[in-house]
């Protein structure tokens, strides 16, 4: 029967496409391989169900399609079968949900030694801020924003004087150190999205959101905006460069602090220590 065959082909074709697809997730660059594992579990379970249901359906069409004199069976329900299917489904759902919630717990629990950095979105560019040698970032306010102070730092906050402000450059991160990425937006919703990091979070004006991660692979990665933010949404790009510790520090040395930028040389740049100690 042609119809049954085509239905079966749809199922088989989908599985084959899945196996041979050249389009697949990017090689991971952070500690979130747990997320990839959870996706894999989900693919296995849902794939099996998908194939089973469609194959069963195709078989029914093949076996029971209308022929002269055929009469359907009369079978209003089958309590036992329905219960078993329900329980089986619940088990399958549980097998996906349990690891999911477990990893989510890790995702939202930021380790104590994570260095805070800040990413700020605005139409349509990214700015970054790294804490100075005091390891702490100064407070900010949208109302302070001006051409000389693009991220709106408070001029009176001592913690902010040595912060490194990168207005339209790339973000550099050291490998192997957990970072808590604080996310802020000046105007509309944006979303800091680096496919290789797996993590992403909206940036909401009036709020500070965050996620954390530990880079595990050096390289240069594209930053995209993943929340529709206006006409140039697709062009809102930047790069993140994950480096070895030494290179990172060499780069950091060349950056200017907030105090320098805003013309107050009270705090000069110093040698930075890495996060933690």
């Amino acid at each position: 029967m042609a119809v049954a065959l085509i239905l079966l082909l749809v199922a088989v074709g989908s599985v084959l496409f899945h196996i041979y697809s050249p389009w697949w997730w990017t090689p991971i660059a952070t500690n979130w391989s747990y997320i990839d594992h959870t996706i894999s579990i989900t693919f296995w379970i849902t794939g099996a169900v998908f194939f089973a249901v469609i194959a069963f359906m195709a078989y029914c069409v093949f076996r029971f399609h209308h022929k002269e004199g055929r009469r359907a069976a009369y079978n209003p329900e089958n309590k036992k079968l329905e219960w078993w299917l329900t329980i089986g489904t619940a088990v399958g759902v549980g097998a996906m949900l349990a690891p999911g919630l477990f990893v989510w717990h890790q995702f939202v629990t930021v380790p104590a030694d994570a260095t805070e950095i800040e990413v700020m979105g605005q139409q349509w560019q990214w700015s970054f801020r790294l804490p100075g040698k005091d390891g702490r970032m100064g407070t900010t306010n949208v109302r302070n924003i001006s051409p000389e102070n693009p991220m709106g730092l408070n001029r009176d906050d001592p913690n902010g004087q040595d912060d490194v402000v990168i207005e339209s450059g790339d973000l550099h991160l050291p490998i192997g150190k957990p970072v808590k990425v604080l996310l802020r937006s000046l105007d509309v919703l944006h979303n800091f999205y680096v496919p290789e990091f797996r993590a992403k979070m909206d940036m909401v004006p009036g709020m500070v959101t965050y996620f954390w991660m530990t880079p595990i692979r050096t390289g240069t990665f594209d930053v995209l905006c993943a929340e529709l933010c206006g006409v140039a949404h697709a062009q809102m790009r930047a790069k993140v460069i994950v480096q070895e510790e030494g290179e990172y520090h060499a780069w950091l040395e060349t950056q200017k602090t907030f105090a320098e930028l805003s013309g107050r040389n009270a705090v000069t740049k110093a040698t930075y220590k890495s996060g933690g100690k």
Binding site: L7, V10, V142, M203, A226
Partner: protein, 591 residues
């Protein structure tokens, strides 16, 4: 196919259900234009929804042309692309599917299937349609106002929706909100009718558990819509205040293009909560009628009772109730408090269980059936495949941590098109092939129907199945051009071009369908009253198409559930609901 050869009404006792006060049309205008007959209103709703739906279809081609061949079409720029996705999404979800399932199928089928003469408030029902039409016209007018329609995405998130970085900031967004408010008012008027008609105007013997699942689906969806649409209403009104009166419900302090704005303190996330409190139930408002209708299509065309009817009813009610406590699964990466993730992931995955039961029961209905591969049945099979596929990818997006990498990518676009785009459209099309004979008295052409099915089903599957993998790769949604990025292999562009070609082919098949609709109206084979030999009441009307008041002199009386197909010992393989005895007197032996 044969007509029912006996007169079921012969031994029915006279109906005691009080008759609705029927209005009687006096002129051509009140009969066909300002009609209060639910059947006419249903057709008005369906035609209007299809007309605006065609606009959304054309928009989808333009979007696909841009995505498949970026830079080739100079008349599509970034802001137009955003306007297109917004209008396409909003029209498809609300003005096409919601209006078609509830206003179209609801109006036509509810009174007929429960054995009523009409909706209980015909005048309000008529108003409902005209307000809907007004809403559609206001929406369409945004194409012609200065600045064009809004490009904020169908979710209309503030603050961007009302700021100048988004196209359609001055007129588009205002008219969009006005149109939504009108739609909701109009829908509420219609919805009151559908609910009260089911509650109050069922004919004698039509207990709840004898109602066809179509009625169950549409009824539950309407109840949900009545309760959920106010959330969109509130959100729209508040956004209008923000936009027009300068309030700060949703608008925080912000600097736009170097300019300090007067807003301050508002919460964009508040809007998202309100929007999705409506938005998630909306998904099921579209899905539940489809569930109901497809159950009846499968049962009728497999000549077998629906398997596990009671479970099917409980699942519809359970899904309806549960779907009010899952809305924040659209907000996992919105910046809301992370602890909500645990709760909403759990509720979301729990909904999968009743939904899966429905799928099992559809395929188990096929088991040992007598499957007639008619066009409606083919569409039902197509629905099962696309719905299972889309439902399973929903388990990815509902499971909070899995959603983190996938949210806002093309994976999401592929998922919701599969589950609430293609799957319900399969049901809509199957339902049109199924009920067209009742509406017009003629069959749709079978050959064109099969061609339409295969191209639409396989084409749509080829559009949206591979699209998941583009999303898995990491391509974000709402990008008019993915541009250069190290992680995107060049083969992705080839795939995008392929998807575009498929989209154009599927679009072409719809033109064949439209031709079929018109051609069969004049040239189709006369169908008789009950061409599919179905049990439900709408097929037992004395006239086809049913006349004014539906039932002639007396209302039908119901003696059995809606699924007496292939009952052992019965002479025929179906027993209509209004037939008292299981085995009718031997035909032709009458004096």
């Amino acid at each position: 196919m044969v007509d029912v050869p006996y007169d079921a009404r012969a031994d029915a006792p006279p109906a005691e259900v009080p008759e609705v006060e029927l209005y009687h049309p006096r002129s051509w205008w009140t009969q066909y234009v300002f009609s209060q007959d639910a059947k006419v209103i249903a057709i008005q709703y369906s035609l209007t929804a299809s007309a605006i739906g065609l606009v959304a279809l054309v928009l989808s081609w333009l979007m696909r042309l841009q995505l498949g061949f970026p830079g080739t079409f100079s008349f599509i720029d970034a802001s137009q692309y955003l306007q297109f996705i917004t209008m396409h999404g909003m029209i498809m979800v609300i003005y096409l599917l919601t209006a078609l399932f509830l206003g179209g199928f609801g109006n036509y089928l509810i009174p007929l299937m429960v054995g009523a003469r009409d909706m209980v408030f015909p005048y309000v029902n008529m108003l409902s349609y005209w307000i809907y039409l007004l809403a559609v016209l206001v929406l369409a007018s945004t194409f012609f106002v200065p600045g064009g329609p809004t490009g904020a995405g169908w979710t209309l998130y503030p603050p961007q929706a009302v700021l100048s970085g988004t196209p359609g900031q001055d007129w588009g967004i205002v008219l969009m909100l006005v149109s939504l408010i009108l739609f909701i008012i109009g829908f509420t008027m219609g919805g009151l009718n559908y609910v009260v008609t089911v509650l109050q105007a069922r004919t004698r013997g039509m207990t709840l558990m004898r109602m066809p699942l179509t009625v169950w689906g549409i009824f539950t969806a309407t109840v949900m819509a009545l309760l959920a649409f106010p959330a969109l209403f509130v959100a729209s009104v508040m956004m209008l205040f923000d936009r027009l009166l300068g309030t700060s419900f949703f608008m925080p302090a912000l600097v736009e293009m170097g300019q300090q704005m007067k807003y301050g303190g508002g919460s964009p996330i508040l809007f998202q909560h309100l929007f999705w409190f409506f938005g998630h139930p909306e998904v099921y408002i579209v899905a539940l009628p489809a569930f109901g209708i497809v159950s009846d299509l499968i049962s009728t065309h497999a000549r077998k009772n629906i398997f596990g009817y009671r479970m099917m009813v409980w699942a519809i009610v359970g899904i309806g109730a549960l779907s009010f406590v899952v809305w924040a699964h659209h907000m996992y990466v919105s910046g809301m408090h992370p602890k909500f993730g645990f709760f909403f992931a759990t509720t979301t995955l729990i909904i999968a269980i009743p939904t899966a039961i429905k799928v099992y029961n559809w395929v188990l209905t096929l088991w040992r059936g007598d499957i007639h591969l008619t066009v409606p049945m083919l569409f039902a099979l197509g629905f099962i495949i696309t719905f299972v596929n889309g439902g399973l990818t929903g388990l990815f997006l509902g499971n909070v941590v899995v959603d983190v990498p996938l949210s806002d990518t093309m994976f999401v676009v592929a998922h919701f098109h599969m589950v609430m785009g293609v799957a319900p459209i399969m049901v809509v099309l199957g339902a049109i092939y199924h009920w067209y004979p009742k509406v017009t008295g003629r069959m749709l052409d079978d050959w064109m129907g099969k061609f339409h099915f295969w191209v639409t089903f396989l084409g749509a599957y080829l559009i949206f199945f591979p699209m998941h993998y583009i999303g898995l790769l990491g391509v974000p949604r709402r990008y008019h051009d993915i541009g250069e990025a190290a992680f995107i292999p060049s083969s992705t562009h080839t795939l995008n071009a392929f998807i575009t070609v498929m989209a154009l082919i599927v679009g072409f098949a719809q033109m064949v369908f439209l031709f079929n609709l018109v051609w069969s109206l004049f040239k189709g084979r006369p169908s008789g009253g009950n061409p599919w030999r179905a049990t439900t009441l709408e097929w037992q009307t004395p006239e086809t198409p049913p006349g004014h008041g539906n039932w002639g002199k007396e209302l039908p009386v119901v003696y059995r559930w809606a699924y007496d197909y292939s009952v052992p010992g019965a002479a025929q393989d179906f027993i209509p609901q209004n037939q008292p005895r299981a085995t009718p007197a031997v035909q032709g032996a009458a004096p």
